[in-house]
């Protein structure tokens, strides 16, 4: 019995020793650029919750915010993206991005009804900072054009997700549920803010 085990063990060890890492999804070319662009806003929790919160707040504010938002937000964000591409620094980007989640979450939780121009300015300032972070990654990506397509589409879909969630405000229970969601987003924003200020590890 033991004479059969040793050769098998030797083969198994040889196979393990010859093992190499497998790259099922190589991040190269158009596919690589597209994948990294699509995943960039989705894998950063601070970006993700802020983008969803923008959509929800737009839905709470109603017309014209609900339709101006998806048309203009990507453009304003792209302005920030250009600043990132050109390596023009912005003051305290991580702090402002964390603050965006806190402020937008609080606006959703409190059903804050600012005048449209004021709401647009608040969202635009945050959009520039979010775009700056994404844009800074663009020149180093596998395919810059595909990366740009990926991150604009991902951001747009996150807004759409927020607007869809925001349609729950038509029902009283849905409205309260959304306000609860705003509290969660604001709490996460608080955590990210504390993290960016070095208060938590």
């Amino acid at each position: 019995m033991s004479s059969r085990i040793f050769p098998r063990l030797a083969v198994a060890l040889a196979i393990l020793a010859l093992a190499q890492p497998v790259f099922a999804h190589e991040q190269v070319g158009v596919a690589g650029g597209l994948a990294s662009g699509l995943l960039h806003p989705l894998t950063g929790m601070d970006h993700l919750i802020a983008m969803v919160a923008v959509g929800i707040w737009g839905a709470q504010l109603g017309a014209p915010a609900i339709w101006v938002l998806p048309i203009t937000f990507p453009l304003v964000m792209a302005l920030g993206g250009v600043l990132g591409v050109l390596r023009i620094p912005l003051p305290m980007p991580e702090v402002v991005i964390a603050l965006s989640a806190l402020v937008l979450g609080a606006a959703v939780a409190l059903r804050l009804r600012l005048p449209f121009a004021a709401a647009a300015i608040v969202v635009a300032v945050f959009a520039v900072f979010h775009g700056h972070t994404h844009g800074a990654e663009l020149p180093g990506s596998a395919n810059p054009l595909a990366y740009g397509v990926g991150f604009v589409v991902a951001t747009g879909l996150l807004h759409l997700c927020g607007i869809t969630i925001g349609t729950l405000t038509r029902w009283p229970a849905g409205g309260r549920l959304i306000q609860g969601l705003g509290v969660v987003i604001a709490a996460l924003g608080c955590y990210f803010l504390a993290q960016s200020l070095g208060a938590v590890a």
């Binding site: 048309i71 990507p74 453009l75 964000m77 792209a78 250009v82 050109l86 595909a146 397509v149």
Partner: protein, 206 residues
């Protein structure tokens, strides 16, 4: 019964004996350069974005204004291909392509109503640009006529189908209940403009 079986066996044997290799993909035949011309722009993200944006813009302006692009766009591609071959002019540069993406996106996002002549001029100019860019990859052994025919057919099919899909999606006759569709098209324009703006920045940064 025996005769029928014998006849069937002989017929089957004759069929098997006369079997030849089948060419499912006639790329291997002389028409290969036609497919090269047709597929070349469809494998370039720059072409895909610009052609799609042009088609959606034309479709959003209605069939009466957009229908002339069915002719103008493929003719522009042919003119650009000819220009590229004759003068060696291949591309106006990445900033020009990115600028074109930005302009088309802004026109879509702002839902600008433009005259048919201007729309045709933009489409023709874009097609000349992209036709010349596609000429850059023409090899010395490539059959230019077949390549040009393939490119023009791809341009015709892409612009016609994109316009048709946009028109069918928009349905302006459906009234206020379908207004969100117009907003969705404008949001698509916002996305295109955002991509163009970043690529303009990237073109100047690199």
């Amino acid at each position: 019964m025996k005769y029928w079986l014998a006849f069937t066996s002989i017929a089957t044997a004759a069929l098997i004996a006369s079997a030849q290799t089948a060419d499912a993909h006639i790329v291997a035949s002389r028409l290969g350069d036609f497919y090269t011309g047709a597929l070349h722009p469809l494998t370039d993200l720059q072409d895909l974005i610009l052609w799609a944006a042009m088609g959606v813009l034309a479709g959003s302006l209605g069939a009466s204004k957009g229908r002339w692009l069915v002719l103008a766009f493929p003719l522009g591609l042919l003119a650009g291909l000819g220009l590229g071959r004759a003068t060696g002019f291949v591309s106006a540069g990445p900033a020009a392509d990115a600028g074109m993406i930005l302009v088309l996106g802004l026109l879509l996002a702002a839902a600008v109503r433009m005259p048919m002549a201007l729309l045709c001029a933009i489409a023709f100019g874009l097609a000349v640009m992209r036709g010349a860019a596609n000429a850059g990859d023409l090899g010395p052994e490539t059959n230019r006529l077949l390549f040009a025919a393939g490119l023009a057919c791809a341009g015709y099919a892409a612009i016609t189908l994109t316009m048709a899909v946009t028109l069918a999606f928009r349905r302006p006759e459906a009234g206020a209940s379908m207004a969100w569709r117009g907003i969705a098209i404008r949001a698509f324009g916002g996305w295109i403009a955002a991509i163009g703006l970043m690529m303009v920045g990237f073109a100047y940064a690199s």
